[in-house]
């Protein structure tokens, strides 16, 4: 097993899927995707329900493997390594490519512990208080929780919980953050806050976000990838490009149909 953390980034892309197909048992959920993700940018994955957006996202840090029958074909290159390579430990992949989920899922522990736990189990040995504060500040949550760090993470509102989850994720200092519809369970005000936060985070992190909400994709993302479902119910990449271009001047008819609301 090679240690990837100290390697210089290889190539100009943060992560790159090459001819990637993802299966559940013998069902192909995503087929032959080639997708290059720009570093320190927000890439949105959009598409109709069931087109394999989430599966695609999860395949970037091998979270799809939590489903016992899932397997992948092809390559995902991260820092010059195929994360599906035989010598790669998925646990290590996830430490570098973090994830924020659709529904806020803080641990039933104190706010402090929520942030500290991930760092601790990954062997973080420096000043923990500092790390917790810094992570919470970056997640724009510090001012709201600094006086109640020992209270349960469950005591926060939905939006705060989601930002806590983001703080928890950045506490382990990943390079890439995957977000699976991070605001879909939140009200518009909380959604706006998350979107602002994403813009701030994009200065330091590469963010890939799955969203149902095309306005959201248009608002926050730099790049957009449009997925669709084929006749065999496998998802595939239709079009990928800078968000502005894709929304104003799509190259593919199907993209145009989708973003203008003709289906989906």
């Amino acid at each position: 097993m090679t240690d990837m953390s100290n390697r210089p980034q290889n190539g100009r892309y943060a992560i790159e899927a090459r001819d990637l197909s993802v299966y559940y048992s013998d069902f192909r959920a995503v087929k032959t995707v080639d997708l290059k993700i720009e570093p320190r940018k927000i890439t949105a994955i959009i598409g109709p329900s069931g087109c394999g957006k989430s599966t695609m996202l999860r395949s970037f840090n091998r979270m799809n493997e939590l489903v016992p029958t899932a397997w992948a074909e092809g390559e995902v290159l991260f820092q010059g390594h195929n994360i599906y390579g035989e010598d790669v430990d998925p646990v290590q992949v996830r430490r570098h490519i973090g994830m924020v989920f659709q529904k806020p899922n803080p641990f039933p522990k104190s706010i402090y512990e929520n942030v500290a736990w991930g760092a601790r189990i990954n062997g973080y040995k420096s000043n923990m208080d500092e790390l917790v504060e810094k992570s919470l500040r970056r997640a724009a949550l510090w001012d709201e929780v600094k006086d109640k760090l020992d209270q349960s993470g469950y005591s926060l509102s939905g939006g705060q919980q989601q930002r806590l989850c983001i703080a928890r994720t950045i506490a382990v200092r990943p390079e890439i953050i995957l977000m699976d519809e991070p605001a879909s369970a939140l009200d518009p005000v909380a959604t706006l806050k998350i979107e602002e936060l994403m813009r701030q985070l994009a200065e330091n992190y590469t963010i890939i976000v799955v969203t149902h909400n095309m306005q959201q994709a248009a608002r926050v993302s730099d790049h957009t990838a449009f997925f669709m479902m084929d006749d065999d119910r496998a998802g595939y990449l239709v079009e990928h490009g800078p968000t502005k271009e894709l929304f104003t001047n799509p190259k593919d008819q199907r993209t145009e149909d989708y973003i203008t609301g003709r289906f989906g």
Binding site: L66, R94, G98, F107, P108, K109, G118, I121, N122
Partner: protein
């Protein structure tokens, strides 16, 4: 609402035929069914508990094979009878003559016999009190006992001849009693008796002083008066009866001398006498017995009997004695100067009533007012030796020599082996509480000599005593310790194994045929009858793994066991029994931990095991513990598999290690309930209460632990 039949809102849709009231009725019906089942459940539980409590408390009649006072008295009588220079005779005249003939003689008998020879004898004062009418009447003279008649208001009112006889008796008794040889009552006591008579007859006595005594003419009544009772009162009553008839009573009058106790029985139980005579007051049990026969006894004190301590008129040094001196004079002292140095150095010549005499008993009881418990060790040893078999006495001697035993220890032996209190009948709690008088009456009728007391079968002695064949001495210490040991092994074995298996099955096991089979098997095993586990335990733990379960492997063989029928085997068997329950419950608890937690953990770069250990298990733990508590509670109450594994049916040694032989509370209860004697059912009820308390304590501890656990998780 005006009408509940139809909706108040109009509907034009012909496809809807709603009957809202009917839907509400159905809902209400189901609600009632659900409530009823809850109530029934509670009632059944309450009935069970009440049934147990009913057996665990209540009255018992305890009969001593010999009364301790009697033993103590016997010792004193023996001492008196065997003292040197003692003449004992049943003939009081002989005693009186003997005393009169020597200045160094002393003796005692009924006062009447002193009066016969007042010129030759001289009565002594006892503790400064002379046997005068006043002193006897007031109770100052210690060797006096009252004489009574008992009747009831109803009999007196229904049978005028009885009222007339009592009237005559009270009217004339003080004129005759001294002639018969007893002591007359003082004015106050006699007035009290007369007031009682008037009260019973319904005569207003609010200002008693102004009411004159209504003398009834014996000629005015006829019929039948039946009296029975004390032989002491008998001569007095005979005299009064003769006079009554002389005064003109023409009906029948029957007086029987059968003893005070028998007199009360005739009066209260058979209820065929009108008057009971007695030389002692009626006791509570007898009063209850009478009340049961709808007879409320009224008491008339008619006189007093007294013992005279007499010396010869020739005696020139003795006029008064103390009770303490009497004890010495009639037992250990040899010469008068032994008792008091100022008295002559002459041997004491004692004249006392014989062993069959009630007077001797009365003297011993009154003068040597000594409890069995206070007797010196040597005396108790002597009692023991005289009353138990030689073999048993030798066994006691060989266990611990009597020289090394304490007085308390020997007293304990005497109580256990000679007094031998034995429970002759028991009553359940509710009968004891709600029909108390019936119970006491029944006890007095069937076991007149027994002592009736209210006992809690569940008491500290019951907890700390080991098993015994005698229900009064049996306890549950061995069983409690056995249960605790067994359950400890069970938990140590089943909890880690069960939770481990549950984690594997839920988190790691792949979805394949083999794991399906395992899962199905576990579910089925939870329903296998427990006795099957017993057979498995017998085959595997007791037989196959004997070297392990008997401790031979570790060289720790319990000398009393030496086979696999040990606590370890029992604990492992019960562990097997509850293992499926723990697995299934733990699986459910683990399943209920939301998947998002696992994803959150893994998403942060935690390994699967870290995620399980830090998030899944702690969150599943309250559920796991709930399941474990239920399973362990079941194990504590199990009986059948332990019978098969070989629980000892009768052991008195405490378990000391997993390799000890054992019994448990349920086994003990099972055993006791199958005995024919009533008392075993009572101690079984008490043991069930102990088991319940043990269960509640263990569960409460576990629940407390669990709550602290889940609180900390949420903190």
């Amino acid at each position: 609402m005006a009408s509940r039949k139809d909706s108040i809102f109009q509907t034009k849709d012909p496809d809807f035929h709603d009957n809202l009231p009917r839907r509400h009725r159905a809902a209400k019906g189901w609600q009632i069914v659900l409530q009823a089942s809850t109530v029934i459940g509670i009632i059944v539980l309450a009935a069970l508990l009440l049934n147990i409590i009913d057996g665990a408390f209540g009255y018992v009649a305890t009969q001593n094979s010999i009364e301790p006072e009697q033993l103590a008295m016997g010792v004193q009588e023996e001492l008196m009878l065997t003292a040197p220079n003692t003449v004992s005779s049943e003939d009081d005249v002989e005693l009186a003559e003997g005393i009169a003939s020597s200045p160094n003689a002393i003796g005692y008998f009924g006062y009447a016999y002193y009066l016969d020879r007042a010129d030759e004898l001289r009565p002594l004062t006892v503790d400064g009190v002379a046997p005068t009418a006043d002193a006897v009447d007031s109770g100052e003279y210690g060797l006096a006992r009252p004489l009574f008649l008992y009747s009831t208001a109803e009999i007196m009112q229904e049978k005028p001849e009885v009222a007339a006889y009592l009237n005559f008796y009270l009217d004339r008794v003080n004129q005759e009693i001294e002639d018969v040889g007893y002591f007359s009552l003082g004015d106050e006591a006699l007035n009290a008796a007369m007031l009682t008579w008037m009260n019973a007859m319904g005569i207003e006595t609010a200002e008693a002083e102004t009411v004159s005594w209504p003398v009834i003419n014996p000629q005015s009544v006829s019929g039948e008066v039946k009296t029975a009772g004390s032989s002491t009162v008998y001569p007095l009553s005979t005299r009064m009866a003769e006079l009554f008839q002389v005064a003109g009573y023409s009906g029948e009058l029957e007086i029987e001398s059968i003893g005070s106790t028998a007199g009360f029985r005739r009066f209260c139980i058979e209820a065929d006498t009108d008057i009971a005579s007695a030389s002692r007051a009626i006791n509570r049990a007898e009063v209850d017995l009478c009340k049961k026969a709808k007879r409320e006894p009224v008491e008339f004190r008619v006189g007093t009997d007294a013992l005279a301590i007499v010396v010869s008129q020739e005696n020139d040094f003795l006029t008064e004695v103390t009770t303490e001196q009497l004890r010495q004079i009639f037992t250990t002292a040899e010469t008068w100067s032994d008792v008091d140095p100022s008295w002559p150095d002459e041997p004491i010549e004692r004249f006392i009533p014989g062993a069959d005499s009630g007077t001797l008993d009365f003297f011993a009881e009154s003068v040597f007012d000594q409890e069995l418990a206070d007797l010196p060790k040597e005396t108790l040893v002597a009692i023991l030796q005289a009353n138990v078999s030689t073999g048993l006495f030798r066994r006691f001697e060989s266990e611990i020599p009597f020289a090394d035993r304490s007085q308390e220890n020997v007293y304990g032996l005497v109580v256990e082996r000679v007094v031998e209190p034995e429970i002759v009948q028991t009553w359940p709690l509710f009968e004891s509480v709600f029909s108390r008088s019936d119970v006491l009456a029944e006890a007095a009728a069937e076991h007149p000599d027994a002592e009736v007391s209210f006992v809690s079968w569940l008491n500290p002695k019951f907890i700390v005593n080991p098993q015994s064949a005698n229900p009064e001495r049996a306890g549950v210490r061995t069983a409690i310790l056995g249960s605790l040991w067994t359950i400890l092994i069970t938990i140590l074995f089943a909890f880690p194994l069960g939770v481990g298996a549950a984690i594997y099955l839920e988190e790691y096991a792949v979805d394949n045929q083999l794991n399906h089979l395992i899962q199905t098997n576990i579910n089925n095993l939870a329903g296998v009858p427990s006795i099957i586990y017993g057979m498995l335990g017998l085959a595997v733990f007791v037989r196959l793994l004997e070297a392990l379960t008997s401790g031979k492997l570790f060289g720790l063989v319990d000398p009393t066991t030496a086979n696999g029928r040990t606590i370890l085997s029992a604990g492992l068997t019960l562990g097997l029994l509850i293992l499926p329950l723990i697995i299934i419950n733990a699986q459910e608890a683990i399943k209920s931990v939301p998947n998002s937690l696992r994803q959150a953990g893994m998403g942060l770069g935690a390994t699967k095991w870290q995620t399980i250990l830090h998030h899944v298990l702690p969150n599943a733990m309250p559920g796991v513990l709930t399941g474990t508590i239920l399973a362990v509670s079941r194990a504590i109450g199990e009986t059948a598999p332990l019978v098969v594994v070989g629980a000892s049916t009768f052991i008195t040694v405490d378990p000391t290690s997993p390799f000890s032989k054992f019994t448990t509370l349920p086994i003990q209860i099972y055993q006791w309930t199958s005995r024919p004697q009533d008392e075993f059912r009572n101690i079984a009820a008490a043991a069930i209460l102990v088991l319940l308390i043990l269960l509640l304590t263990l569960n409460a501890t576990a629940v407390l632990l669990r709550n602290r656990f889940s609180k900390r998780r949420m903190g």
